[in-house]
Symmetry: C2
Subunit: 619 residues, 2 copies
């Protein structure tokens, strides 16, 4: 006998024999679950919520780690739990490994389908000596007569092909219409596809969507090749300002990557690029401007203005992109020079405008956008959080790739960690860095000002600065360490974010504890351990259930805008409603920023807020 | 004492001493007037109409050449007439030499100004830390607030420049708006110019127009460099079908010529190409399709269809043309595969749709379009008249250039002629060829079937065929002759046109004599002598006052469409209303075409129709 177990939102399901834990079951089903302590019930890495079914009683390890509320809500450690019936389990993002999460991204979303482009199949009467209408008139007439669609114009690029094509297809065709304009004429029976693009500073994600059904046919993320012109947007902006050649090259790189991404997605989905009749693109304002060939100089000087905020509908060929011949790209609106269309897409996907209660929404990256939403009023700031969370400026930092330490726990003087793909450790990525700083602080290795105490046996001095040894030298691999300088970088980064939140609260005359919901979007934000982020003082110490890690919400927002004209309007409403505060110009900026450098006052233990005493120095 | 003499429509004026003829006066003022007989009152070349003032009594030469009605209407021969007071004279197109007529073309026209693009001057508030609107939003807001113009979008190419430009121009600008779209942002005080282009098979004419005032600032005609791919459209179409490379090259040639023409016109008018914010292009369907990169294969096969008939509004950059960054080209509608936008423009400019009484409108060229208008109903045909009237396929034929015989008269056995620029004769152009055939026929050298009689002293046999010697060998120049073969070519050409007219009449169940008005447009049509064209049977033998030679009406129509949205609508109405008859498919085509080869039955003498007896053989 075996139980039927379902893991959500991954959607993986299968049988689990009664003698095996949920952790064993997950592994057998290929669901990749976090396990820092090695499955001995000492970390919360593998926590899951039982939505349906019965499981074994909580073990002592579970009652120690979870609060009463969490236990009441059926939270369990997968490594400690045996199913007692068929079960449906919820696996929160923080329990998924990086590779597992990447698979989850780009799942179907439900919006009312109302795409900008609609397709109509028509059969044209053949011309005769007594019916001398031109090919275009013949097509427009058939569309009106057979489908009651009155189109006013035919795109010039479409016109260039219809005469031979209509004859080739025996006077039948699938006609794609957008706002009274024929933007494509494809063979009868063609699919109507859309492409949603999240043009990130580091990664470019693409989603190929069936516009008629709303399904995602393929999704793919690739590195943004613009990194050659600077890892962060500021360096890219300066490069673009310095040289028109660099500016043109940055544009070309973005364009060719999107074009290639589309080709790859079409190959995956066994379809053809000309079947892509609509494209939605989101990105931060800098990426947006560089792709569109807009000037960025005014973004680099106070008051840091965007060239345009409004949503744009641009013939894709004007951007150098080639899909269906007359296809448009819809570019979501920007909010400000450093709060872009990607954040609008995030707010769109998370329904932020309709949020009940005081809500903070943020997308953490080298630039972190934060919005405070209160009764439909949105205020936003942009925080220069820098590259530390992507592994930049950190001695052993790296991106979230194979061998990166993504989770870390210090108990006594032992360091336990989990790497991506469970490969031998080669560095430490953003989520691991936050864990490391939090654990060092809780272990008393760091004081609240971030100074590293040299008394811990794993602290050594190298190049005149203390560093904590995370992994020992192993098979010719050098040890992986966290240096005092790394701690300072993390403090700068987290202070920027915390300042943003605080300035928004101060401006609205509200306090931290009033926040009812914190939405954390973006690839990095999804991977971090919220408790660790609270411990280092990056985010307010609120009950964990108030936090929602929503993954690549920008990409989801782009997809929604692709499938629904209503969502495009909503995005414009969001962008129009948001008031933007230039952080450096805020009244209390300097004091707030200085204060924000301190590590946190609280930790979350057993679901409860607990003051950090700094007495834990594990000597 | 001297009289003040004005020549219209040329607009040249000056003093004329009482002892000098109007011909002398014209010459002194630089007005180039036709004079075949050398000013001895033997030809009608220099006929003018006295609109105001008193002149000398008609001489016997004048009373002989003019009808009573013409005399009553104050027609005079300039060479025979002395002014007796200040005078205003009308010089009809046929009295102007070719070079004089080229100067007249592109004169001002009066339409109610309602251009598609309007300009607004705005002054923007400078951005501050508390006014963080993007540059585009700032511009759109200023336009709405200061000029009550609500624009929905900014062209992407305009967006690419506004941020630096607004700062450079101290936040002031002249904004060009077309249908809620900002298509150009120019320095404050910029002009709003439009370009009208008549893309002819042989010649490309451009007119640079001030859209605010309606003035023509400059006009220029250049040769169409596509002639390298065939003198007529049929050869060009076949070249384009045979090779995509040739097709691309034909397109590039048209594009680069228009671009260069615009640059030349701007230089002439001391302005800059980016001030051109609107362009209207007309051309026959083949030229239209080749310029737009549309397929032409279906035009070469029955039933000879256009890819598109409707008027098009296309971003000029999509055609490879570069004016104001977001400017559109408006391409007038076509009627059929061989009745194009240029003919629509002709019908527009001549007000054909509103013509009272049975009207024939025609544009004579290698392809001749003819329309019959009756009570607002338009029917059209296309006639393959071939290149004879442009000098093609004629032994000594040439285009209307310096040294071409443009007028010709045979009296007794003498040949009198006038050449363009009064240069030594080097060949014979279209109007000269028609004169020659008519004169040979009247002189009895040709019979009504077009056969050349060998009895005339100037007829010799060369290569086994008879030819008529127009000019003798002179200073090493070979003689200029008209061969039997040339006569056959002219017969073919004129038969095509006459057949077109006849088929239209037959279809409408009307007769020649009912025609109240014949509008002859096109460069060539303006140069021909109507009497000669009647004599050879090319056009019906109607009283001369029913004919109107209107010059390059296609160019005028393009200009009207440039200045007035109403005219664009009217053009579409014309194109939609015209019913087109495929000539070769007409019931009585073969018989009509065979009959049309005969030379005319009538000549016009002293304004009256007179049967040609064929007895005039000047032996």
């Amino acid at each position: 006998m075996a139980y039927h177990i379902e893991f959500e939102p991954v959607g993986r399901r299968g049988e689990c024999p009664p003698g095996e834990t949920l952790m064993d079951c997950a592994r057998q089903l290929g669901v990749s679950i976090v396990s820092i302590c090695g499955g001995v019930g000492k970390c919360q890495g593998c926590k899951v919520q039982v939505l349906k079914g019965t499981v074994s009683e909580p073990t002592s390890a579970e009652t120690e780690l979870f609060s009463t509320r969490q236990l009441n809500e059926s939270w369990h450690l997968a490594c400690q739990t045996y199913p007692k019936s068929d079960c449906t389990l919820y696996m929160p993002p923080e329990s998924m490994t990086t590779s597992q999460r990447l698979q989850v991204e780009g799942q179907g979303i439900s919006v009312v389908l109302k795409p900008a482009v609609k397709a109509y199949r028509v059969k044209l009467p053949e011309p005769t000596l007594s019916d001398l209408r031109s090919d275009a008139t013949r097509l427009l007439d058939a569309l009106e007569k057979q489908r009651r669609v009155r189109s006013a114009s035919v795109d010039i690029a479409v016109l260039r092909d219809i005469s031979p094509n209509l004859r080739l297809w025996d006077w039948q065709a699938s006609v794609s219409v957008r706002e009274h304009e024929i933007i494509a004429v494809n063979p009868p029976g063609s699919r109507q596809l859309g492409l949603a693009v999240d043009l990130g500073t580091t990664k470019i994600a693409g989603y190929l969507v069936d516009l008629k059904k709303g399904d995602t046919l393929a999704a793919k993320g690739v590195m943004n090749p613009q990194v050659g012109y600077g890892e962060d947007i500021i360096s890219r902006i300066y490069n673009a300002i310095k040289s028109p050649k660099a500016s043109a090259q940055l544009r070309r790189l973005a364009v060719s990557t999107i074009q290639q991404l589309a080709a790859d997605l079409c190959k995956k989905a066994k379809t053809k690029v000309p079947e892509i009749v609509d494209v939605v693109i989101v990105g931060n304002t800098a990426m947006h401007h560089l792709l569109l060939g807009l000037p960025v100089k005014q973004m680099a000087q106070p008051p840091f203005l965007a060239a345009i905020q409004k949503a744009l509908n641009i013939k894709l060929r004007d951007l150098g992109l080639h899909f269906a011949p007359g296809a448009y790209g819809h570019i979501l609106p920007n909010i400000a020079g450093f709060v872009g269309a990607d954040f609008v897409a995030t707010l769109l996907a998370t329904g932020a405008l309709r949020a009940k209660g005081l809500t903070v929404a943020m997308d953490i990256g080298t630039n972190t956008e934060v919005a405070l939403i209160s009764n439909g009023t949105l205020t936003s700031v942009s925080c220069a959080s820098g590259p530390a969370f992507e592994g930049g400026h950190i001695s052993h930092g790296m991106r979230a790739a194979s061998g990166a330490i993504e989770r870390l726990r210090i108990s006594d003087s032992a360091v336990e960690y989990q790497t991506i793909d469970e490969a031998p450790p080669v560095g430490i990525c953003g989520s691991g860095i936050i864990d490391a700083v939090a654990q060092l602080y809780l272990a008393g290795v760091l004081d609240e000002g971030g100074r590293m105490r040299r008394e811990h046996p794993r602290v050594r001095v190298n190049n005149n600065q203390p560093e904590f040894v995370l992994t020992q030298e192993h098979e010719e691999r050098p040890p992986i360490t966290i240096t005092q300088h790394d701690i300072r970088e993390v403090q700068l980064a987290k202070a920027a974010i915390r300042t943003g939140i605080q300035v928004l609260l101060d401006t609205a005359n509200r306090s931290e504890d009033e926040i009812e919901q914190v939405i954390i979007a973006g690839a990095f934000g999804t991977y971090i351990d919220i408790s660790s982020a609270i411990t280092i003082g990056m985010i307010p110490a609120l009950p964990l259930e108030r936090f929602h890690q929503v993954g690549n919400a920008a990409g989801q927002g782009a997809k929604q805008a692709l499938l629904s004209l209503g969502k495009r309007e909503e995005a414009q409403v969001i962008a129009d409603q948001v008031s933007y505060i230039e952080l450096a110009a805020a009244a209390n900026f300097t004091g707030t920023f200085a204060q924000a450098h301190y590590l946190g006052k609280y930790r979350i233990k057993n679901g409860r807020r607990e003051r950090i005493t700094g007495e834990g120095l594990g000597l």
